[in-house]
Point group: C2
Chain length 329, copies 2
């Protein structure tokens, strides 16, 4: 079926019928604005991400369902990085008229499936036509008590630097996709990353993270954001950076510097945070119980800047610092 | 200056420095998510609109400042239509690398100027590169007490149908722009519409509107949304539709049906609402005191459908029903 036959309001109606009821939503899809009931005492956390065809995704590589999931996941990951509880989201789509309705159905199905897993409800958005490729914008609202919200600032000298999961798999997956590979754990992590919501919430509830961010631009760049916002530096232990067995096995085929994708690749959507050394074992236990082990990969220092230490590569130098839109290189 | 020299984080920093402080914003631009303090007892109202180059705007027609204002205005208008108070917003931009930084500066300046007028604060968003034209997505959060929120549903037989301001000017302006005209009140209304926030809030505080919507798709289509959501019909009085002197004077040059642009054109961003006949004078007084007179243009009927009555054009038939993305014609 073509979108022109279904029409804008047909599409919106079709999406609205698939959304599960949520008693905190007084007005959902179909009014001028959604109306939701905030939880008394909580701050509202709001984040928004845009995904542009040809920049963030390639329709030859992803399935519509995985694209739908990822468009929500990248926002869920931002709420996770605040220690927040995700609640409601809006989806805006600029759709090329040639895009089949079946694609949109599978996209929405993937997105709403993930929304159900995390108890978040689609409450509105916008649909319009696009002349040049699909553009997706998701805005997610979350909540958390003020004392539990974790920002990027506040990291203190002596804090340990923690990261969940393994790094570089997503960037390796992207390199593999570019070379024609279409499956495997790295490709899957790139196309369908898992936001670390349980970990973020559990850590925030335990009051452990001092500063936290999710890794979307790459470890070095995102650690840089924490350092800048906190007015501190860090010593990064290269040999402690968690790498998956798959990454160790395959990275040499795609990068001459074995750490380049883990440090600069981005889109890991793992949590990067600092906590005092006394919290080390509790952080490990919480992350393990949530399903994603954490590692200590460095220490916050008083002197600014990021220094990298390694017994294996004593003179290691970072070859790139992470993704930056608009850059020429 | 080129965007590539400024970089993504340079751009974000430049925008962040221009935002006025707001004590309800605990964390603004620059963290994974914004954190804001909701007003106790209020519902959160959320709306999102996408503006795509070549679909919603033409860079040859608008100034960067007016585009910045309009991108926020269309969202402010949605909050006005709920009777809400606008509070915080997020801006996402997909930017072609060739766009000069000066354009973005003027765009942001225009947007933030309007934000200050309406006491709303930019709290976050996203920036990325685009390969095909500028894409803008704004999400606006507003608030209102539950009993004051006005939805599209609930219109009752016997209610009068009101509209603020005059209709068709924006659509006339668009036709004029297409033919090469670049100024005049209609062109201005198209490029820089005024959201009826004061009117929406004052009406909602007085508890007068039963159902309300802003006219973005055109009077006939948007009245259709109220009728559908309320399960009622309406009798529209063609001769009572408020037309500006400029519209009356110029419409014949652009449309053979003098009511086509007023009924089907869209982007008026006027408020369309129903209220009981007993509220008529109070509605008029409130809207006059807010600066935009209201008119009665019809009555809600029990029988479904929209009938159009006119002494001047007794057999008038609507030639189009409003804008619908994805439609072939």
């Amino acid at each position: 079926m073509k979108l022109a036959e279904l029409g804008e309001f047909g599409l919106i109606g079709q999406i609205a019928r698939k959304v599960s009821p949520d008693k905190t939503v007084r007005l959902g899809i179909g009014d001028d604005a959604a109306a939701t009931e905030p939880t008394p005492g909580c701050l509202t956390l709001t984040t928004s991400d845009m995904l542009i065809e040809g920049v963030h995704f390639d329709l030859d590589w992803c399935t519509p369902a995985s694209l739908g999931r990822k468009s929500l996941s990248v926002n869920l990951s931002d709420i996770a990085a605040m220690g927040g509880v995700p609640r409601w989201f809006l989806l805006s789509l600029a759709i090329p008229p040639t895009l089949p309705v079946e694609f949109l159905d599978a996209f929405i199905q993937g997105m709403l499936g993930l929304a159900t897993e995390h108890n978040v409800t689609l409450i509105g958005g916008d649909t319009c036509s696009s002349r040049n490729g699909l553009a997706i914008s998701v805005t997610l609202l979350g909540e958390q008590l003020p004392e539990r919200v974790v920002s990027r600032s506040g990291a203190r000298p002596g804090d340990l630097v923690f990261v969940t999961g393994t790094l570089g798999d997503s960037a390796l997956g992207l390199e593999m996709l570019k070379k024609g590979e279409r499956s495997g754990p790295a490709v899957e992590k790139h196309l369908d990353p898992t936001p670390r919501l349980r970990e973020g919430m559990a850590l925030a509830e335990a009051g452990l993270p001092i500063a936290m961010i999710d890794i979307s631009d790459g470890l070095a760049a995102d650690l840089g954001h924490i350092l800048e916002m906190s007015g501190v530096g860090a010593r990064l232990l290269l040999d402690e950076i968690p790498l998956s067995p798959f990454y160790r096995e395959r990275v040499a085929d795609y990068a001459s510097d074995p750490f380049r994708l883990a440090l600069g690749g981005g889109e890991d959507y793992e949590l990067l945070f600092t906590a005092p050394p006394s919290a080390r074992e509790e952080v490990f236990a919480i992350c393990r119980s949530c399903g994603t082990p954490a590692s200590v990969i460095g220490t916050i220092t008083e002197s600014a800047g990021l220094t990298i230490e390694s017994a294996t590569f004593p003179n290691y130098r970072l070859s790139e610092k992470g993704y930056n839109h608009f850059r020429n290189d």
